[in-house]
Amino acid sequence: MTKTFQITISGQVQGVGFRPFVYGLANEFQLKGSICNNQDGVLIHINSSKAKATAFLAAILIKAPKISIIQSHFISETTFKNHDDFKIIPSGTNHQINTPLTPDFAICESCKSEIRDVNNRRFGYAFTTCTNCGPRYAVTTKFPFERSNTTVSAFAMCNNCKTEYANPYDRRFHSQTNSCEGCGIKLKLSAADGKLITTDSSEIIKKVSELILLGNIIALKNTNGYMLCCDANNKEAIERLRKKKQRPTKPFALLYPSIEKIKTEFEINKFEEQALTSSVGPIVVLNPKESLQDLEKESIAPGLNQLGIMLPSSALLSLLIDEVKIPLIATSGNMHGSPIISMETDSIEKLSKVADYFLHHDLVISFPQDDSVVRFAGEQQIILRRSRGLAPNYLKASFSSNERMIAMGAHLKSTLGFAPNTNTYISPYFGNLDTYDVLTRYQESIAKYIALFQTQPDVVLIDSHPQYQSSILGLELAAKWNAKLISIQHHKAHFTSVLGEHGLFESKEKILGIIWDGTGLGDDNAIWGGEFFTYENKKIERLTHFEYVDWMAADKMAKEPRLSLISILPKSERELIKPKFSETEWKIYNKMLENNNLKTSSVGRLFDAVASLLDIIDKATYEGEAAMLLENMAKNYKGNDFIDFLVDVDFEYVPVKTLISSIQKAKSEGISTSRIANSFIYTLALIILKIAKQNAYKTIACSGGVFQNSILVEKLSQLSQKQGIKSKFNRILSSNDENISFGQLCYYHHIKN
């Protein structure tokens, strides 16, 4: 007997071609009914027998679009209603919004072949998208994901596009970002002085390509914000870009023409290939093959053997790279330390000193994002920066409660965590909140999220460091909103972020938390960063930590690895490193160490000290430089003869001074720098296992910026597996301070200390 069934599906199901997919499936099943987006996801009504309805739901779950993610589904019988056919009903206004924000998707293969096909009507069209690809979050202005709720609505579809949009058998059936050369987004090429060069789309890509090959720097507006590009084989252009962007040594990412070219030039495993060609389309950090000669490696990534590589994420980049055919430098369009630029006026004001030419277009970007960056330790993905394609959904956690929460994150790699309903949103990272433009974007994003969800938080979560801009702002907002304000210790938030990612809060057995990073304010007012916690029964206790050493010279210590070295190296051996300092510095710093009160357990600073001791770097120009160079050095060691620098040493607190003395001794014995660097990381992994075994832990959970080190992650995974210990790392989020906002949400929701 025919009844009416209602199916609700929630998850990432809007803006991913879900309704057209269900429409097609309903026709295959010869079902009448309707589908619409609603506040929870999609809502389907069908007239059918019970058996057929169940089979239909099963088919939906199996065949759902690749870029969709189904979190839950529900089927029930409802009041009978007659349907003449199967309809897609446009969304009405929602009372309460409870859906994920769909992320941006990299251009799909079908669209790529269309823009390359002279006979296709989208040949050469730079904003070609379909239900499987294109910007989403970047162009979102409102819920749910309908054309009228995006900035693409500024462009009215032509008749051809309308026909596609209405045709259930077309890939662009209900494709909200649909447009073509005839009705769509217009490109504009101009010189740095503002002089218009051309708006003729048939020649514009060719022209840009010529300019690049002549050594020019181009500011190009992609669908997620401006990007600066130049020829990756042109040393002079790269050096000029470095100088003008005030970015002396931090590595640049490269845009490659094809996966085939990447495979011929880089060592690449199948996980890396999958990531590169995925709908996320991140930058993947890869090892070049020995044979790779023509790139200006030393200018692209000074002192590093690895390069960040990506494939074109949009039709525009795809057309450009097809035309130039060589790898391009592709770096965010901003001044060093400022957020990525997305507005034409802004780009001209801020980038005209950097770029020689500008490629603008007239699609408004409402949420600008950098490209995401990932790397792999074996098959384990390590997220270095979570942004385009990955943010802002966090689909694995739900804080369904009556309280709507906002988590303010940390300071330097700040992100916002927002739990306004049963979904969780973790914003892309913003950057250093001391920078005015970054703080402004952070504040604007708070306002945008509140407008988007039409709800104001009841709870504001901040870091316990009172001088973080995020803490200062959180305090103000809590007062303004009359919301509850809770401050959470930095490393405990790191710990709960990894517990939350793996759903470990209900664990029956105790879990060892290993939280290592550069700095965070501890409960005892020392600067923590080498912490061992225990989690049990919803409580977190500090088990032990790295031995305290002196923190000197405020933020300067984090910028000069030699300061970590002078602080950590035992006084009796200090004379050895005198040449790293001027007479005055030597006198002053020795004196400062006598009277110092501020202490630290930071493992980030230990990495700095080792890098300085091994004469790899004494003064850094970008954050994390010493750790990266040290890891790079460690990778040069191809042997298997690792040294345990703490062999036979028993300890309550990890004895860093003993450790560094032992490294100094190895150095004086002439052991190679790469072997020492590798052995240092090996020793750190052993320390973790020793503490885990001594205290009978079966699960360890690691977080903090130090765990972006792929050698450490790989060694630790292998060694712990051998000993029957489960090791957990951040997977969906970065292990650095980008995960603090998520950790704050988890801590508030789960921990009952």
Binding site: P466, A554, E585, K587
Partner: protein
């Protein structure tokens, strides 16, 4: 200073010459209180001084206590006239040191043209104090042309600083921590009243606000003003006057000179049309040789202080109560 009940020691001390040294008609009355005559609008201010060490390059706690209150009065547009002076002395302070402080006080008063008209001395047991604490209060008539109030600050006002920043704090720190820089850094403590009155004479109500960036430095003072007056302030790092030696000492220690204390410095918010003229006059003054325009009041970003750095980025200036704790990972 040795043992004995507070009373005896105090009297003995005073008898032994405090009165003689600071002698003036009103003080010489030796009455319970001072008889003074004041007409019209008057400013009244008080402050306590607890600096360690009490002697430092460029001065000592004595003149600091006098100049501090004098400058607070000057910031109100007043001519400081009469001061009260109270000591809380910890047992064991060498008499010689006390006299040195007293002499410094005398000279500071003479230079500023003020009189100490009443005072008090208490001696506390060892461990109950830190060598010597001084409290001063002061009064003085407000200049008829002065109209100093945060309410007068207007969009477009220029912000002028009278001299090099961060000298006092670095001088104190170098002695306290025993840090020997290439050459000695001296405190900038001095009285600013003459310089201020000269500016008020000439520019009157064009001076909207005066403030001395003492504890917490220039950053803290400006952030406080921006917040309480709900104005935006734009600063330019390039324009900040700072002694090279002080700058490199700050750099060495990882300190931001914007947060380091000053003593002989003032900041003026001046209407844009008069700023250049006022700066020219100030630069002729001995306390204003290094004066500079460092910023302006803007309509954008109310309550925020933004500094354009030497390399072009814009930094948010916040209040950092207490020690600068590291935030960089």
């Amino acid at each position: 200073l040795g043992h004995g009940s507070g009373g005896v020691l105090t009297n003995k001390l005073l008898d032994s010459g405090v009165f003689d040294l600071l002698s003036n008609e009103i003080l010489d009355e030796r009455h319970d209180g001072a008889f003074i005559e004041l007409n019209g609008k008057t400013a009244f201010s008080t402050d306590s001084f607890l600096v360690s060490p009490i002697f430092f390059p460029g001065g000592n706690i004595g003149e600091l206590a006098i100049n501090g209150t004098i400058n607070d009065l000057a910031m109100c547009g007043a001519t400081p006239k009469y001061l009260s002076l109270s000591f809380i002395i910890e047992e064991g302070l060498p008499v010689k040191e006390f006299w040195d402080i007293l002499v410094a006080i005398k000279f500071a008063c003479e230079k500023a043209g003020v009189q100490v008209v009443t005072g008090d001395t208490k001696v506390v047991e060892k461990g109950k104090g830190d060598k010597i604490f001084i409290n001063t209060s002061g009064v003085g008539p407000i200049h008829p042309r002065a109209n100093i109030s945060a309410k007068n600050i207007a969009i477009g006002d220029k912000i002028i600083i009278s001299g090099n920043i961060a000298s006092h704090g670095m001088a104190i720190m170098s002695v306290r921590e025993g840090l020997e820089f290439d050459s000695e850094i001296e405190s900038d403590t001095t009285n600013l009243n003459h310089s201020i009155i000269k500016l008020i004479e000439e520019f009157g109500e064009s001076i909207h606000l005066l403030t001395d960036p003492t504890r917490g430095g220039v950053a803290t003072v400006l952030k406080e003003i921006a917040q309480s007056s709900e104005i935006g302030i734009d600063l330019s790092q390039r324009d900040f006057p700072i002694d090279e030696q002080v700058a490199s000492a700050c750099e060495l220690l990882g300190l931001d000179p914007l947060y380091v204390a000053n003593e002989g410095l003032f900041i003026a918010f001046v209407s844009a049309s008069k700023a250049d003229a006022l700066l020219a006059v100030l630069q002729q003054d001995e306390n204003g040789k290094n004066a500079r325009i460092i910023g302006r009041v803007v309509e954008e970003h109310p309550k925020q202080v933004i500094m354009e750095s030497n390399i072009g980025g814009k930094r948010v200036i916040s209040m950092l109560p207490g020690e600068q704790l590291p935030r960089i990972c």
